[in-house]
């Protein structure tokens, strides 16, 4: 029963199992970890003015590079859109196949799984590990534990080290890291991620899923009776009884032979036969285990299986089993999918049609206008000219919609060279902040007008930004 004040953590020693779901988990682990560790090392030639790392989050210069895509701060809606897509994607996956994210792709699951294999490598399978856990601290056990924890630490360190590679040129950062020249934040990040991976993946494991993570609470609320989840078909399994008992009284016992394999293989220590519970991450290892046992004892597979609660109810009432994939097609998942895909299509369209120039204009507010001696009126604007190409480009700014006599000049082009059109060279991959003065002769009426930006190259990309001209009396 334990003390009244606290509960001792129970270590879960899950048994090795093989089967379709286990092999799928291997595949997911291989792909996700592969992507995670390898991606920063892929090179991508972007010309002389931009980094040649395929995926790079350049926080210092506020750029996000992903292969041929380059995201600027003013295009952050792409990132926001991807995050919204990730959110809706979770709704979609959850409503269709329950906690599949938790069971296969969540980093906590993937690293816990990896660490459990390390356990198996050093300490043997479930029974051996349980024996070793109870054994006194002999030198042999200490050596074994030290070796295991050293491997934990190595994996954790590699994990933290891979993370920082996304934020700087990976080869340079690796050299700087080992020669002591990297930024302090790099060492701190690696230290923190090493510590959390070591602790959360090596020791906390399923406790993170059950006590720390908010997502299972949200996910359980998003599941319904039409979602595919791991279920134990109790109408088929109960009454449980060993093979021996069942041989004596075949009518009294169901298909479950109470071998406990489903509990032994569970990475979170759940007994799925107790029904739906928060500890179940629907990884399907119990299905592998149960199917294997059913095959051995010559009974049909699927006593524990992916099924919706509705399907379970129908089957219990005598209906023939429905194929699992049919549960995927229903209005709720289709609506989620439509929203998700629509958002994705919108982002792709925006990505395909964006130009590599951009102009924003902010008029001076204090003072809004300036009356000069000769009665002319001057307004000041701050223009931001963005050149999103990896080469310097000449750009032309022109006044549009202002009456005859309107001229402009900038801080670098003095008032003597005021004209209706000015040419500016914007450096490669840069935003040129320009203070522009616009002068309107006395008596000329004005209100809304626009700055037109044209790139003076073969592309002749344009961007028009409307703004207003403030005058005495109409400010």
């Amino acid at each position: 029963m334990g003390s009244a004040l606290y509960e001792k953590g129970k270590t879960v020693h899950n048994k090795r199992i093989d089967g379709p779901f286990r092999r799928f988990k291997w595949l997911v682990m291989l792909v996700t970890l592969g992507i995670y560790y390898v991606t920063p090392w892929i090179r991508w030639d972007r010309g002389p003015y931009a980094p040649d790392q395929a995926v790079l989050v350049d926080l210092a210069n506020r750029r996000f590079y992903m292969f041929d895509i380059e995201i600027w701060p003013h295009e952050f809606y792409f990132v926001a859109g991807l995050l919204i897509m990730a959110g809706i994607g979770l709704f979609l996956v959850t409503s269709a196949v329950g906690r599949a994210w938790c069971g296969y792709a969540c980093p906590q699951t993937v690293w816990t799984d990896l660490f459990q294999h390390v356990d198996r490598f050093f300490d043997g399978d479930r029974n051996a590990r349980m024996r070793l856990d109870k054994a006194p601290w002999t030198p042999a056990k200490i050596a074994r534990r030290s070796a295991k924890w050293a491997v934990y630490l190595a994996i954790a360190f590699w994990t933290g080290g891979a993370w920082i590679m996304y934020f700087a040129d990976a080869p340079t950062l690796t050299r700087d890291f080992w020669t002591g020249n990297a930024a302090p934040v790099a060492y701190a990040t690696v230290a923190i991620l090493t510590g959390t991976t070591f602790w959360l993946g090596g020791f906390m494991r399923e406790q993170v899923c059950i006590y720390m993570c908010p997502w299972p609470r949200i996910q359980t609320a998003m599941l319904d009776e039409k979602s595919l989840i791991v279920t134990y078909k109790d109408w088929r399994g109960e009454q449980r009884g060993s093979l021996k008992k069942a041989a004596k009284n075949p009518d009294q016992y169901g298909d479950c032979i109470d071998c406990n394999m489903c509990v032994a293989v569970c990475p979170t220590g759940v007994d799925i036969r107790e029904g739906q519970q928060i500890g179940c991450i629907t990884c399907g290892l119990c299905i592998d285990a149960c199917d294997r046992v059913m095959k051995e004892v010559g009974r049909p597979r699927g006593l524990i299986d992916y099924a919706t609660l509705d399907q379970c109810k129908a089957e219990a009432a005598g209906a023939p089993p429905t194929p699992a994939w049919k549960a995927l097609l229903r209005p709720r998942t289709l609506i989620y999918f439509t929203v998700w895909a629509g958002l994705g299509a919108g982002l792709l369209f925006a990505l395909g049609t964006r130009t590599h120039t951009d102009l924003t204009v902010s008029p001076d507010r204090n003072p809004p206008f300036m009356l000069l001696k000769d009665g002319s009126v001057r307004n000041a604007y701050t223009l931001r000219l963005r050149n999103m190409e990896a080469r310097p480009r000449d750009m032309e700014i022109a006044l549009e919609g202002l009456p005859q006599g309107a001229v402009m000049w900038t801080e670098s082009v003095s008032m003597e060279n005021a004209a209706r059109v000015q040419t500016v060279t914007v450096p490669a991959n840069a935003t040129e902040v320009l203070r522009v003065y616009v002068l309107l002769p006395e008596g000329a009426p004005a209100n809304a007008f626009a700055f037109r930006l044209t790139s003076l190259d073969e592309q002749r990309e344009q961007d028009v930004t409307e703004t207003t001209f403030a005058m005495p009396g109409n400010e």
Partner: protein, 308 residues
């Protein structure tokens, strides 16, 4: 308080019972509890080390002696140290030579902008656009001259500031009682006509030539060394209506600006001059004129005869 095992869940009860409802003992995980204890220990250490406990007049000081004010003072000192060399270079550079060093000029403008926000916005406004009676510093009209040297002099000695010997001072005489109402109308009409606003008349032009042209110029072009505003432009310190012009003829108002010498150090004044000059209306590359001499002459003349 009888503890027992709850049948359906197999969990021990804590022994409390209300109306037949019993509380199950489902304790926290040990690591969670220890984390909670760790936060208590952290808080206790924190309270000892840092200011924490509100007392009657001030909080407990903490054994480290740390305070946010001390942090601020250290940061301010560090910031002062960091810009010390720039400040020294500005101090050593002649003000008219500042624009030749764009980097130094930018530093001076930035420093001036900060000083402006503290000392000047009360009269000239946050955007330096002024208001009636308080000159706009963004335009191209400079009553006392708009070169860097002129602006620096104005800042140093003030305008009509009794506390400063060499202040810029002149006073327009009040013509109250000297003119008939019809004459005042004619004169105001002529003054406004100089900038294309009112109707000139022979009488008005004659009155202007006799009484006003000496300071304001025959065409109303003004005289910066004397601080006589130009009357032929679109900018009117006290307003461009006939009533405003007549009020200014009969009983002129005179703006006063304090001398900042002694209140601000010379480098700050230099930086302020650079900032005001940069606001877009500063006179560019004007040859340094002997504004100081002229102004002090005028000041001396004004002192001798306050009525001009």
């Amino acid at each position: 308080m009888t503890k027992r095992i709850d049948e359906p869940t197999g969990t021990e009860t804590v022994g409390h019972e209300w109306d037949g409802i019993e509380e199950l003992n489902t304790p926290l995980p040990r690591w969670w509890l220890y984390t909670f204890y760790a936060t208590i220990v952290f808080a206790a250490i924190y309270v000892v080390l840092y200011p924490a406990w509100p007392m009657i007049d001030r909080a407990t000081q903490g054994t480290l002696g740390w305070s946010s004010r001390g942090d601020l003072a250290r940061e301010m000192t560090a910031a002062d140290m960091a810009r010390q060399s720039t400040v020294e270079r500005i101090a050593a550079t002649d003000i008219e030579k500042l624009p030749a060093d764009p980097e130094l000029m930018q530093a001076a403008i930035a420093g001036g902008a900060a000083a402006f926000k503290v000392n000047c916005v009360q009269c000239h406004g946050a955007g330096a656009a002024g208001s009636p009676g308080y000159p706009n510093l963004n335009d191209d009209d400079w009553i006392w001259g708009g070169t860097l040297t002129d602006i620096q002099y104005t800042l140093t000695h003030g305008i009509r500031w009794e506390g400063a010997e060499e202040t810029r001072a002149n006073f327009m005489p009040a013509f109250q009682g000297m003119f008939e109402p019809a004459q005042v109308n004619a004169l105001a009409g002529h003054v406004l006509s100089l900038s294309g606003k009112g109707r000139s008349s022979a009488a008005g032009a004659q009155l202007f030539a006799d009484n006003c042209a000496a300071c304001h110029g025959s065409g109303g072009e003004g005289s910066p060394p004397m601080g006589a505003p130009a009357l032929n432009d679109a900018i009117w310190l006290f307003g461009d209506t006939e009533a405003a012009v007549k009020a200014q003829i009969l009983a002129p108002r005179h703006g006063v600006m304090p001398a900042w010498q002694g209140r601000l150090d010379p480098v700050t004044i230099k930086m302020l001059a650079a900032y005001v000059h940069s606001r877009g209306g500063g006179q560019k590359a004007a040859p340094a004129q002997p504004a100081t001499d002229a102004a002090s002459d005028v000041a001396a003349a004004a002192k001798a005869d306050p009525n001009g």
